[in-house]
Symmetry: C2
Subunit: 345 residues, 2 copies
């Protein structure tokens, strides 16, 4: 059996010396290297931007959608949309585990898992497309995929519905980072706190700040704030435009009696929220940017422009134990589970 690189560079066909994600073509031979996992695929969750593009190209016709998807995988060895560059994730059953992984993974053959690493770097073979669920970007297939040693995954829990688990796993990094960072006594602000990842962050933050801390939920719509209130996720709720630096500064100042926040977690997927995040946070505080709309230079130059010594961390969707932390919230909080089932599952 051949020895593989942890990052899967051994499967890159072209261009040489790149990683599987930027590569244009990777080897999707379904014979594993010593550090790979073979998966019997059940469902592909195509990235929303990618699936929208495919549906448009196919003018909504199911047979054409199947043809485009098969064509992508035949050409590239992975389901990376050539227009959007994005992938998605998959659900399947473990079929074979490379011997070099023995004792390194908590998996056995037959386990049902979701891969939490993008399809844009995952070797995939589609034998047949069984069903296309156009409204939820899901496609059932007969086929196989390879998970690299560095690839992350979650074993699907038996006590939670599959779609609920998937919607939570999709944003699992955020609450796990909140759980790591928040300390007793902290003032914590979650910008976009009433959204999908924001609510999980509030929940984890509230568990940790204790009686001397304060958890603040900032949201844009009355409706979403009411929803967060119904699950009692925060101590204070602020309705504000997250892009308005002066408004956010004044309202957070009021909510914290002028102290400002120790930790600000930015979960709102709109541009131009860097400066409001910086101004809401104490000089020696910490900002966690989980929003993919974050602009690096706006944050870096913004902090310098107002002379703030704030630590600014770039959101990493992965941290150890993130899947377990996120799934556990659905077991602990009936209220959040109800909201998630209604909105996302």
């Amino acid at each position: 059996m051949k020895k593989g690189c942890p990052y899967g560079t051994h499967r890159v066909i072209e261009p040489k010396n790149t990683l599987p994600q930027p590569a244009v073509k990777i080897d999707n031979t379904m014979e594993i290297y010593d550090n790979e996992i073979l998966i019997d695929v059940q469902t592909l969750n195509i990235d929303s931007a990618s699936f929208t593009q495919i549906k448009e190209e196919a003018k909504g016709k199911e047979e054409k959608i199947k043809e485009i998807m098969k064509n992508i995988v035949e050409t590239r060895g992975k389901h990376q949309n050539p227009v959007t560059g994005s992938g998605g994730m998959l659900i399947g059953t473990v079929k074979e585990i490379g011997p070099a992984l023995e004792g390194k993974v908590d998996l056995k053959v037959g386990d049902k898992i979701a891969t939490l690493v993008s399809l844009s770097l995952t070797p995939l073979k589609i034998d047949e497309i069984l069903a296309v669920r156009k409204d939820i970007d899901q496609v059932d297939i007969k086929g196989e995929a390879i998970l690299f040693e560095s690839g992350i995954y979650a074993v699907l829990p038996e006590d939670l519905p599959e779609n609920l688990a998937l919607s939570v796993l999709d944003v699992a990094g955020a609450p796990a980072q909140a759980a790591k960072l928040v300390k007793p006594g902290d003032n914590v602000l979650v910008i976009g706190g009433a959204g999908k990842s924001g609510m999980l962050c509030l929940y984890e933050a509230r568990k940790r700040v204790g009686v001397n801390g304060k958890v603040i939920c900032l949201g844009y719509s009355e409706e979403s704030l009411e929803r967060a209130k119904s699950a009692d996720l925060a101590d204070v709720y602020i309705k504000a435009d997250a892009t308005n630096a002066v408004e956010v500064l004044e309202k957070v100042k009021e909510a914290t009696n002028g102290e400002m926040t120790d930790i600000t977690i930015n979960c709102v997927n709109v541009p131009n929220t860097e400066m409001p995040s910086i101004l809401a946070t104490k000089d020696d505080g910490l900002i966690y940017f989980f929003s993919m709309a974050t602009n690096f230079t706006k944050a870096a130059l913004g902090a310098e422009g107002v002379g703030k010594d704030t630590t600014m961390i770039m959101g990493n969707g992965y941290t150890k134990g993130h899947a377990e932390i996120a799934l556990q919230i659905m077991r602990e909080s009936k209220e959040l589970r109800k909201i998630y089932e209604e909105l996302y599952a």
Copy 2:
């Protein structure tokens, strides 16, 4: 005397509810609020991108350059180039200090300072342009400027030439962050280590890692690496293309006996160096992105794609004591001072 906001929002004319930097027009009346500092300006250091644009628009004619610059300041109340959006910094003498700053600043009237906050948010009035030094982007003027309470500055040292001090202050954030982060025993990699900010980072890192640590300089050209070697800045020198993930991974693996790095500091101003930085760093390591070419999503999705739990910090040009730390290097290291005087001063 009127009370001012620390961030200078009291001087914003339009649009309302913005900060001075994004504002199109700010009030440049040279009568201070209670928390402002009035400066007699000697020299403007125009941002390089901005000055290049102005020179081109003026077709290199000095009188036209003066006219464009005066026009910008008359229209906006600050020297923010409407095409590039950027500013620069200034040197001048403290003329008046607002009473609310008493005991808060280490300044007295008559001190010569450099403002380390951008001209793009600094109220400025130009009475006369005295000299234009086209080759080094500097313009001597007769005029005044305002520093807000949150504005950062450095008192120019008497024992170092002005231009040397300025070139060091320009990148002062990087070595100060290195000084804060590096611990004894760390493996430290500086990508772009032979560049302007990189060399200062290496110097601070080397002071701190001790005999059990290792400082690695990664650079692109043989010439710049030789220069860094001449000042004995690192334990290991690597010649590599910082955008080539596989090459960086392999060479850093070799240099660290497979351990990889505890801290990677990215100082190289070219795109697509996020993934090489991530792969060079240990799972529980830390990456400090000081490069303004850093792409937020490439870093965030890149780390997730390879399942790395690495902490990624966005470079903040300001941290407490950064000017003193950077200037002190020029006093401590004859070799670095010589290199800086030759290249940048």
